[in-house]
Symmetry: C2
Subunit: 382 residues, 2 copies
């Protein structure tokens, strides 16, 4: 395992602003284009922010569930002229008080976690409750309502990488935040409620179930084989080769041996880093390039855009500080992009076996899925 | 913890038959109506059964994934006159060679697990594969294509309970089967591919992830409190009361304190039994009655039928035999019925946070959900 690279990020700091109800907002600009003007103030008459949601402990599975009842009334597929992520106008006083922007990040008005942050965590038992502290942020990829991130070009993807990195560093420093999760849900078929191109970042006050399961596997693999699980998975996929979609200098893109979804691709760094803040500039450059090609390939898989969930898996808080004996130091940053689309007009549903038992049944062989994605990337590059 | 009741099931044995390609088929009849006639033979010219699917080990999460590539071409929402679950006719040689029937169970033609069964389990490591042994069965609730189980009456539900019980006993006895999972997916919104009223039973060659997580919680709760997790959860819900939907003599129906889904209700027996085969006749009678009322209540929640997943959680194999030190003896049978419907025209989607992180955010408070279900059951009873 190599030492983490702790060189400071060389990207410029974003321009910070405060929204009318006190929420934080950050403008990130594509390289070399940062404006000299200061942001326009947000002069809307907004209601107070809602209180934090409630966090309840599920004793049967040992997980915390957030209850964000105020989200039942959240904005749902608004018409384009009322889009809260478009540039603000007199007729549509949106969330972003600017005429144009590149990547903009702000605190979600209807958060599942936060606005409260505090270090206290209640004991987990029958009937345990806690305010759902933490933070939820929205990452707007640009001002064009009808665009997609894949269509915005490599420079914009690079700026998104900078925004993810900046926010990961900032959110990991907040009281009580245990896990920072940048992601993008794309496509109404998987429940997206706003069409404007955007992602989100959740900062959880606990280590989510999926990461806990991976940490158990990391420890078990170390005890059984003496090796690092992520390094060994990457070496296994590179040696097999049949599922490798792209092998770069710093990153490899592959369909995993036991992919759960009809489209599932993992992007893993060759160097052992725990989160986005530990990447160096060369790794971030290649990440932007490979991720851009991946998104263009996903777009080219079918005649119509393929819905997807793109999800960053990062080491939980405390990776560097030590004091944890649970595999955090061995956790490696990686991306998992999945889609339920199993044919032009068919989606995979997670019904009884998957939803109730957690027992997945795949419809598409991972080798075939890797081949289809390789061909789609070639088509998109042409 | 009371001793399991091991009295034999007093229900009559089903009428057994063999399908044209060798699959097993069982006819269960409503009480007092068993026919004297022998079944009509299945004279179709069917192709050989497909080979077993492939089981691959996912090292990042420690789970087995089945690859049933032949299911990509399975029957998908056929028109009613080609329904494979309707009574067989010359024009529609269906899966069931009978003019009329009550509850019919047969081996799935496109199984995710099986037809192979064997005891061997390969070690779990990088690249581990195994034939997806086990068994998948279809449970047809009756001959009427357009009916629903809730509309078929309490006597039919009682017969379904008998069928679940019979098959649980038989499937637990098969080589290599670790978990028997009876369930019903209902509604095209959640991916049901056949409208004819039916459920399924999966017999897995491993203990699924969700049950493994519960077993960990059972052990952790015992170590921390000295109590049985399921008994303590039931006592907690009965004491709180606000989420109890129905309290019977042998069963209690409640919305759990930390429900993940907008509609989620658990049905738990008061006596500590591990699976359906350990219930006595009085418990099975009350189960049929309570489950029938639950289904009618779910039907009455909205103007249109509510899609749902109804899932039986049973102790894995080996509960009685001993030799396991992993909480199996402390595992209690229960049902979880969930629906993603969060309003008349809105579904909850499992996107980034839920699907990728396993971190659930609820939209509906469990107390409000319990109240809505209580009222729906009153409306359905009226």
């Amino acid at each position: 395992m190599t030492q983490p690279d702790t060189r400071a990020n060389t990207a410029p700091e974003p321009v910070a602003a405060t929204m009318a109800d006190g929420r934080e907002l950050y403008y990130f600009y594509d390289s070399g284009t940062a404006p000299s003007a200061t942001p326009i103030p947000d002069r809307r008459d907004l209601p107070d922010r809602p209180p934090s949601s409630e966090l309840r402990y599920d004793p049967l599975l040992g997980e915390w569930i957030a209850f964000a009842a105020h989200r039942q009334t959240r904005t749902h597929l608004p018409p384009a002229d009322q889009c809260p992520l478009c540039p603000s106008t007199a007729a549509n006083p949106s969330e972003i008080p600017a005429d144009d922007y590149h990547v903009t990040v702000f605190e979600n008005r209807f958060p599942s976690f936060g606005p409260e942050q505090h270090a206290q965590v209640l004991g987990a038992g029958l009937g345990s409750v806690d305010p759902a502290h933490g933070r939820c942020e929205v990452v707007v990829f640009g001002a064009d309502h009808a665009a997609s991130l894949s269509g915005m070009g490599g420079e914009r993807v690079r700026t998104v990488v900078e925004a993810w990195t900046h926010r990961t560093r900032a959110l990991l420093a907040l009281d009580g935040v245990e896990q920072v999760f940048p992601f993008e849900n794309r496509g109404a078929e998987i429940g997206v409620t706003l069409h404007h191109p955007h992602g989100q970042i959740y900062a959880y006050p606990y280590v989510p179930a999926r990461v806990q399961a991976q940490l158990r596997q990391v420890r078990e693999h170390r005890e059984r084989t003496g090796g690092n699980l992520f390094a060994d998975v990457l070496a296994f996929e590179l040696e097999e080769g049949a599922r490798v979609v792209h092998r770069g200098e710093h990153w490899t893109l592959f369909v995993p041996f036991a992919a759960r979804m009809p489209v599932e691709v993992h992007l893993m760094p060759h160097r052992h880093v725990g989160d986005l803040t530990e990447l160096n500039d060369a790794e971030r450059d290649e990440l932007a390039s490979v991720y851009h090609r991946l998104l263009r390939g996903i777009e080219a898989l079918y005649e119509t855009p393929t819905p997807y969930i793109s999800a960053w898996y990062q080491a939980p808080r405390g990776r560097r500080a030590g004091g944890y004996d649970d595999g955090r130091g061995e956790y490696r940053l990686h991306l998992q992009l999945t889609s339920p689309r199993r044919a032009e007009h068919k989606l995979k549903y997670l019904a009884g076996s998957e939803a109730a038992m957690g027992a997945f049944v795949g419809d598409v062989m991972p080798e075939a899925s890797a081949q289809a994605l390789r061909e789609a990337i070639v088509r998109a590059d042409a």
